[in-house]
C-alpha cells in the first residue's frame, strides 16, 4: 500500500501523535496495522488523501528543517505538527493540512484505544495503561 518512504513518514507521524513513554507508542501498539487494514477497507476512499498529505508533510519538513519528517527529532516533529495543526505552513500543500491532520489523529486514536481485534491496542496494552479492565 505505502512504499518505503511513505511508511517511514507515516510511522514517524503516528508515533508523534501517540509517542512511546513507559507504554508503547502508536506503532509498537499496532496502529500502523490498524490503519493499513482500514485503508484497504472502510477507509479506502481516504488512501489517496493519506498519500498526498504524507508527501506534503515531508515537503513541509524539508522546507522547515531540510530533512524528511521521519529524520527529525521527536521534539522537532511535534513542533512542526503544532504549526500544521494551526495551518501555519511553509510548503505548498495540495490538501488542507489542518483538517486532514485532525482526521489522522482520530484514526490513530481508533487504532490505539479500540479493541485489539481491529489491529491496534496490541495485547490490550492501551486499556492496561488507562485502566479499562475486561472481566467477563
Amino acid at each position: 500500500m505505502f512504499e518505503h518512504t511513505q511508511m517511514k513518514c507515516l510511522h514517524a507521524l503516528l508515533d508523534t501523535i501517540i509517542p512511546p513513554d513507559d507504554y508503547p507508542g502508536a506503532v509498537e501498539a499496532g496502529v500502523g496495522d490498524y490503519l493499513q487494514r482500514q485503508l484497504a477497507g472502510d477507509l479506502a476512499e481516504s488512501l489517496s488523501s493519506y498519500e498526498t498529505w504524507l508527501a506534503d508533510l515531508d515537503a513541509e519538513a524539508r522546507a522547515v528543517n531540510g530533512t524528511d519528517f521521519a529524520d527529525m527529532t521527536p521534539r522537532e516533529r511535534a513542533e512542526l505538527l503544532t504549526r500544521v495543526e494551526t495551518g501555519v505552513v511553509k510548503a505548498r500543500w495540495s490538501i488542507e493540512p489542518a483538517a486532514f491532520f485532525r482526521e489522522i489523529v482520530e484514526h490513530c486514536a481508533e487504532g490505539y484505544y479500540s479493541d485489539s481485534g481491529n489491529g491496534g491496542n496490541r495485547g490490550g496494552i492501551a486499556w492496561r495503561m488507562i485502566g479499562f479492565e475486561v472481566t467477563g
Partner: protein, 552 residues
C-alpha cells in the same frame, strides 16, 4: 384456509411478545425477521462497529450495503451520507439513518435494557400542557391505569430488576420487581450523594437484566460490554432469550430469519390476506394468515404500510387520513460530562444505576422533560469520541498522559427527553431508490418540534448541575441543535387514537381500516415519554396480543 393463524413481522420487543402471547394461546404463528439469528460470538466486541458506536458499521444489522435510506439534507445538522440530487443517501451506520438493530431480537439483542414505565402524565400530554404551535401533541386514548397491569406482566414474565420503593414518581406498584436492583457501582454511589445534596429525587434504574438467576438463566456478571453488545452470561433479557423461545416452546410458532417482507397482500376486496417475502436466496414466497401483526419498528412498519398500497387504499394501508409515517419521534439525549478529582470507574457493569425523575414534568415553561441517569460503562474509544473535554490535548505525549490519568475520572450523566411530536417529522418512501431486495426505501424528512430542543437545553443545564453536585471540578458538553430524531427509540409513526382522520390505529393497536391488521412496536405511541420506551412497547404489545386472542 390460511397457512397460519397469525403472521408477526419483526422479532424485536413488540414482535416477540406478540408471537409468544398468540402462540401460547394456541394460535399457529409465523414469526418473520429480516435479520440473522446472531450468536454471542457473531455480535462480537468490536468497539468501532456496534450499536453504541457505529463508526464503520453495526454488529447486529442491518448490513451497511444494500439497505440505504434517503433524508432531506436539512433534516440533519451535519452533512451526512452521499449526495443524491437534493437528498442525502445514507447507509445504516451513518448519522441520521434512524437505525435499529436487524437480527432475531432486534434492538433487545444489544440494548441496555433500561426498563421504564411511562408516567401517568406521559399518556395525557395535550391535557397537561395544551397544544404547542405546529405540534401534533395529543393524549393517548388509554391511560397509565390501562397499562399498569401489562407493565407488571412484563416485569415478572420477561424479567426486570429494580427497587419499586424508589420509583416515587409513579403511582404505587401492586407488586415489587421480581429481582433486586443490580449492585451499585462506585460512581453511582457518588452520583446518588450528588442528587441527595441537591434535594432531587433518586431511584435505582430498573433493567431488563437478571440481577440474580431468573427464568432458568443466570444473573448478571457485571461485565463492561452491556449496552451495544450481546450478554456473555445470557442474563440480559431480550426477545431472543425470553419471548421468542416461549413462542417456539409452545410448538405453535415457526421462526424464519433472514426473510424480508416486501408487501402486505390483499384480496380483491382490500382485506389483508398475508405477506409476500423475499428470502436470503432472493426467492419470493407468499404466506397467508387470518391476522397480521406488524412489529418492524416505527420506521420500517410505516414503510411496509406505505409500500403495500392497493386499489382500495392507493396511498398505503391505513393511510386514508395521511397519517402513516408522520410524528416520528425518538429521544434527544442531552447530558454533560465532568472531570472528577477521584477515580469514578470501578469496572462494575453495566453501570447506569442511579437516576432522577425530578424533571420529567412540572418544569416552568417547559413541555414535559425527561429523566437523567448516570451512564453505562463507556469504552475507551467512545470516551475519546464523545466525552473527551474539548480543551484537552488530542495528540502528543500530553494527550496520551491525559487519557492515562483521566479515563477513570471522566464521567457523564444523560437521559432521554420527551419529544414534542411534529407532523412534519416524517417517514415516507422513496420510489426512486431501492434496497437490495428491490423494495423502495425509507425517505426521512422534517425535524423535531422546537419545543423538544428547548426541553433538551433545559435538561443539559440540569445535567451540569448534577455533575458539579457530585464533585466534578469541570463540566462540558453542548446543548443539541434541532434535527430529525428517531433512532433506537423510534416511535409515533402510526399513532393510536379513536379517529381515523387523525390516527392510524385504534386503542387496541388495530389499523382503523382493517379488522385483522395490528401493530406491536413503538409506532402507536402518541408520545414517547421521557424514558426508554422498551417496557412500554412490550407492555402495549402484550395488551394488543391478549385482545387479539380475546376477540378471536
Amino acid at each position: 384456509m390460511s397457512d397460519y393463524d397469525a403472521i408477526v413481522v419483526g422479532s424485536g420487543a413488540g414482535g416477540g411478545v406478540a408471537a409468544a402471547v398468540l402462540a401460547e394461546a394456541g394460535k399457529s404463528v409465523l414469526l418473520l425477521e429480516r435479520g440473522r439469528n446472531l450468536s454471542f460470538e457473531a455480535v462480537g466486541r468490536d468497539h468501532l462497529r456496534n450499536q453504541r458506536m457505529p463508526v464503520y458499521g453495526h454488529n447486529a444489522g442491518p448490513d451497511i450495503d444494500g439497505n440505504p435510506r434517503t433524508i432531506e439534507a436539512d433534516s440533519f445538522p451535519i452533512l451526512v451520507g452521499q449526495a443524491l440530487g437534493d437528498l442525502r443517501l445514507l447507509r445504516p451506520h451513518e448519522p441520521g439513518y434512524q437505525n435499529n438493530a436487524a437480527c432475531v431480537g432486534s434492538g433487545t439483542r444489544v440494548y441496555a435494557g433500561q426498563a421504564w414505565r411511562f408516567m401517568p402524565q406521559d399518556f395525557r400530554m395535550a391535557s397537561e400542557y395544551g397544544l404547542p404551535k405546529g405540534s401534533s401533541l395529543a393524549d393517548w386514548p388509554i391511560t397509565y391505569e390501562d397499562m399498569a397491569p401489562y407493565y407488571e406482566k412484563v416485569e415478572w414474565e420477561i424479567g426486570i430488576c429494580g427497587d419499586h420503593r424508589t420509583m416515587t414518581h409513579l403511582p404505587a406498584y401492586d407488586r415489587p420487581y421480581p429481582m433486586p436492583a443490580l449492585p451499585l457501582p462506585h460512581k453511582s454511589g457518588i452520583h446518588k450523594r450528588g442528587l441527595e445534596s441537591l434535594g432531587w429525587q433518586w431511584l435505582r434504574v430498573p433493567r431488563l437484566i437478571n440481577s440474580v438467576p431468573y427464568n432458568d438463566r443466570p444473573g448478571c456478571i457485571n461485565c463492561q460490554h452491556c449496552v451495544g453488545y450481546a450478554c456473555p452470561a445470557d442474563a440480559k433479557n431480550g426477545s431472543q432469550n425470553t419471548t421468542v423461545p416461549r413462542a417456539l416452546r409452545s410448538g405453535n410458532c415457526t421462526l424464519r430469519a433472514e426473510v424480508m417482507v416486501e408487501r402486505l397482500d390483499s384480496s380483491d376486496g382490500g382485506r389483508i390476506t398475508g405477506v409476500t417475502v423475499i428470502d436470503a436466496a432472493g426467492e419470493r414466497q407468499t404466506y397467508t394468515a387470518d391476522v397480521l401483526v406488524l412489529s418492524c419498528g416505527a420506521v420500517e412498519t410505516a414503510r411496509l404500510l406505505l409500500n403495500s398500497a392497493t386499489r382500495h387504499e392507493p396511498t398505503g394501508i391505513g393511510n386514508s387520513g395521511d397519517q402513516v409515517g408522520r410524528n416520528l419521534q425518538g429521544h434527544y439525549y442531552p447530558g454533560a460530562a465532568g472531570l472528577f478529582p477521584d477515580v469514578m470507574f470501578d469496572g462494575v457493569g453495566p453501570g447506569c444505576s442511579i437516576a432522577t425523575c425530578e424533571f420529567n414534568h412540572g418544569n416552568d415553561g417547559i413541555i414535559g422533560g425527561g429523566f437523567l441517569g448516570d451512564e453505562d460503562i463507556v469504552t475507551p474509544i467512545t470516551l475519546w469520541k464523545r466525552f473527551y473535554p474539548p480543551d484537552a490535548p488530542r495528540w502528543g505525549i500530553e494527550a496520551k498522559r491525559f487519557m492515562r490519568d483521566n479515563f477513570r475520572r471522566i464521567n457523564d450523566v444523560t437521559g432521554p427527553v420527551q419529544e414534542i411530536p411534529s407532523p412534519e417529522a416524517r417517514v415516507t418512501v422513496n420510489p426512486r431508490v431501492k434496497d437490495k431486495y428491490g423494495i423502495p426505501v425509507v425517505h426521512l424528512s422534517g425535524k423535531t418540534h422546537p419545543e423538544t430542543v428547548r426541553s433538551a437545553r433545559f435538561m443539559h443545564e440540569r445535567a451540569k448541575e448534577w455533575l458539579l453536585a457530585s464533585g466534578a471540578t469541570k463540566v462540558w458538553g453542548k446543548p443539541p441543535p434541532r434535527y430529525l430524531s428517531g433512532g433506537q427509540h423510534q416511535a409515533g409513526t402510526c399513532r393510536m387514537g379513536e379517529d381515523s382522520a387523525t390516527s392510524v390505529v385504534d386503542p387496541f393497536c388495530r389499523v382503523h381500516s382493517h379488522d385483522n391488521l395490528f401493530i406491536a412496536d413503538g409506532s402507536p405511541h402518541v408520545t414517547n415519554g421521557g424514558f426508554n420506551p422498551v417496557e412500554t412497547i412490550m407492555a402495549l404489545a402484550w395488551r394488543t396480543a391478549e385482545n387479539i386472542v380475546k376477540r378471536w
